[in-house]
Symmetry: D2
Subunit: 304 residues, 4 copies
Amino acid sequence: MTLQPLLDQINHDARGRFGLGKVAGYIPALAQVPAERFGIAVATVDGTLYHSGDALQPFSIQSISKAFALALALQRYGGELWQRVGKEPSGTAFNSLVQLEFEQGIPRNPFINAGALVVVDALTSRLSAPVHALLENMRLRAGNPAIRIDHKVAESEFEHRYRNAAMANLMKSFGNFHNDVDTVLRAYFSYCALAMSCVDLARGFSFLANGGRCVTTGEQCLSRLQTQQLNALLFTSGLYDAAGDFAYRVGMPGKSGVGGGIIALVPGRFSVCVWSPELDQYGNSVAGIWALEELSRALDLRLF
Amino acid sequence: MTLQPLLDQINHDARGRFGLGKVAGYIPALAQVPAERFGIAVATVDGTLYHSGDALQPFSIQSISKAFALALALQRYGGELWQRVGKEPSGTAFNSLVQLEFEQGIPRNPFINAGALVVVDALTSRLSAPVHALLENMRLRAGNPAIRIDHKVAESEFEHRYRNAAMANLMKSFGNFHNDVDTVLRAYFSYCALAMSCVDLARGFSFLANGGRCVTTGEQCLSRLQTQQLNALLFTSGLYDAAGDFAYRVGMPGKSGVGGGIIALVPGRFSVCVWSPELDQYGNSVAGIWALEELSRALDLRLF
Amino acid sequence: MTLQPLLDQINHDARGRFGLGKVAGYIPALAQVPAERFGIAVATVDGTLYHSGDALQPFSIQSISKAFALALALQRYGGELWQRVGKEPSGTAFNSLVQLEFEQGIPRNPFINAGALVVVDALTSRLSAPVHALLENMRLRAGNPAIRIDHKVAESEFEHRYRNAAMANLMKSFGNFHNDVDTVLRAYFSYCALAMSCVDLARGFSFLANGGRCVTTGEQCLSRLQTQQLNALLFTSGLYDAAGDFAYRVGMPGKSGVGGGIIALVPGRFSVCVWSPELDQYGNSVAGIWALEELSRALDLRLF
Amino acid sequence: MTLQPLLDQINHDARGRFGLGKVAGYIPALAQVPAERFGIAVATVDGTLYHSGDALQPFSIQSISKAFALALALQRYGGELWQRVGKEPSGTAFNSLVQLEFEQGIPRNPFINAGALVVVDALTSRLSAPVHALLENMRLRAGNPAIRIDHKVAESEFEHRYRNAAMANLMKSFGNFHNDVDTVLRAYFSYCALAMSCVDLARGFSFLANGGRCVTTGEQCLSRLQTQQLNALLFTSGLYDAAGDFAYRVGMPGKSGVGGGIIALVPGRFSVCVWSPELDQYGNSVAGIWALEELSRALDLRLF
């Protein structure tokens, strides 16, 4: 297989794109991350791992955690969850309260902030220690017990929580938020503050490329159908307001975070994680999207 | 003067309009108020008082307090206050977050909930005891030291605070809310929970009809210009989403509350308060608006 | 009376504000108007006329015509007209389609473009020659048979009609527009393209300051009640998205146009027209608003 | 292959879902279509055709034509087209003007009405006879020279054109509409009024399942990359406001029309068309979506 030289080439070329975006600056802990980093890791469904660049360096996974939180919630709630959150693309910026108000407190999908807050609220109702549960699951999936939460990041996010608090309170006014707002926000920010590397994340999400079965542990995390459904939602809504463009350019289900990471996957073949901190205007990693587009082109990975 | 027989006639006829609206039911403490009540009181600028019907019975003043809070804030901040809240009619329902999001956390005017929350936040920054201050001011203006806050109402509102909390948090995310959200909400709900009668309110707002000078105490509460400006804002924005219709039908500056009270005034002549708990679809007292329209017609009070 | 020296003083001082705004440039015919012009005219209800500066120079009245079109429509439809157009301030920019879509094709008030289009559509249904009718009425009211329509302006507006055509078509889709779109647009743009001077306009709108009776002809144009109602709507909605600020600063009912003219009035005393082509961000004349504020301050004209 | 018995079974069972939706009634020509019809046709990439039920009966393809018009426009414009229309899901009802106004006349994607109007406008600029071109293309792709336009439907749509005219005019006001509005609307409604059967449509869209090569004629209609991109957009935005739900339940790229037809496809395997006139609240065929879900389940067709 020629995957390793391809990743090395992508790693080399991606660095030529440094300087085209901006590192997330809304909290100090993220703003301090060095801009000129790039890593890529691929975990195949037969258990082989390839990586290149800064693929072992942990970074703040941020919204990538939303995909994992949804998987946990689907395990516990199944289809019942969809009474509280929609499956449609949002069509507006990821943090907008407008749609939430017009649609009576039901967020459009689980990958916008409001939707993820409902997911974490649901997990809080059924898990005695929701942060611990997600952390332990991630460690198992990634085969790395050293994964940890960066509490400095979580605390900094909590100090800037007001827009998320506004959404949680608005949903509470519509009866779609059941626990104490600050408690859920703390769990939500802890999820976002997980520090993981490209290798951790490629392994951690391998179950989505493998019909729901974790490549690392062999455990069936989600049913095959649930996995297909989660991937469909990632395809239509995983990249904020740029999901259509990502589908058009890359053609894989994916999820990005403002830490500069993006996970994506080719069902039956592999999961992949790229990382580079500089973001475009939609909050997605510039070099990361370029790298996935290049990978998709080189391997002819588009699904359609 | 034929004012007393006119008020008696209006009191008699207004009772024929019972049954056309609905008592506010969003908190139990308000829902329990008997529907079939009507009171009217007029306080002239020369100090004479006229009243008829249930004009001595205290009721929850609710949003009428927003006009008084604004007067207090103008005393302390003057024109500086307008950096944090607009002077334009809102054009959307009084509790909408949409406009607040589009306009970067600056509420359209001080009489929608978001605007009143900013006003109370501003008072909280400059008054050590903002609830005490407003209560004492109201007692002085109305000449009634027995005016009190109905803590049961305030507590019940606080328990249903989520939409207001959403607005406060949203404004905080834009930097336009300086104090602890729950602290300000408690003060805000205390203001709304003032229990006052038509007579109290007609007297309490007499300064707005008297160029800023309190008829009861002779004190100059606001400058003449500030008073004219406050009245202009009441005229354009005082009745939620029905301000234009009220201007068209009644033609006076006014402010309503979901407790069923409405204060209005004719500059240089008198302030008036009506009360009847049944509300129309805009949250304004059905019999109250009718009574003011009748008063306006009978005395030819329209300003234009 | 000291009105003449006051107007001269205002004319002198207003010219010091040249350069602070921008002449409307969306059609060539308006963009060519010289920027440094100022005129003011006052027509008292006893028939005296005062003016200063460029008060005899005709300019494009633009949206000021909306107030006159509404008066004509009220003559023909009375209260029935309010089934097709609201009385509430709009709360959004004057040409927004958003509110029109949310509110099922009923414009918020007759002074935003959509509302004026409904008014002209209504006039078109009941008048065989709506343009002729408005023109003749204006000539009568102003006592100036030389008033004419600037067809170059009207034609230029029609060539740039697309946003107005969008609104008309949207209302037609909701059943609130009865005549051919282009026919009504041509009438509407002809109204806007009336070329009148400050003196013409002050005289032309004197009936609004005089309980509905035209000072020039003695004719009762509107009933006293209709006049009060029209003035109330001008007060709450006459200056686009700056109505609240105008109420606060000037305190009179008024109507502005992007040609730089503003009419305003003090019931029982006089109507006034100012003109200066440079506009602020809301589309209102910079020097014009300043002049009215100054007049209001000097004569203590505020209504409240 | 067991496809024929499966289609027969689906045809049988789908009829049990009659009565759960409503036939489109906004124009008489569509409202007259009998409700209780169901057809399904599958065209494999190796040229075999399977069908069951009312699969040979022509119906009004309506918005399905938007996918074909986009293919034609991509042939003529390539990526340049995306300067005038976006690739993102809309997040609001398919005929909303709100987003169009906020986003300066650039429609969110080519499958909402506004986006399709821009596509037809673009075709009108580069084709001397855009209606003829699309009709002839469809006949070639489907191998059926008898396909025709139902002019009664087209005319009826044109008579109810006002909302579409509003959108076209709004885009024209932003400079994103180049031809005469009514000319483009007539072409657009002619496209929508194509009368085709399930068999016609399954064959007509086989190029989307076959890497851009028409199964009927062997012609390369679109490049392989363009085909993948068009399919990605169908997946994210093809079913109006229910695209996410369709992706979740069916998991194929697809396009629906208010005539009750839906086309979908499995890349490398087949294209499929279902038809049943009763629609759900989103304007999609009730029995049609159920049939595709059943097909997807039975053949395990989900892409992820």
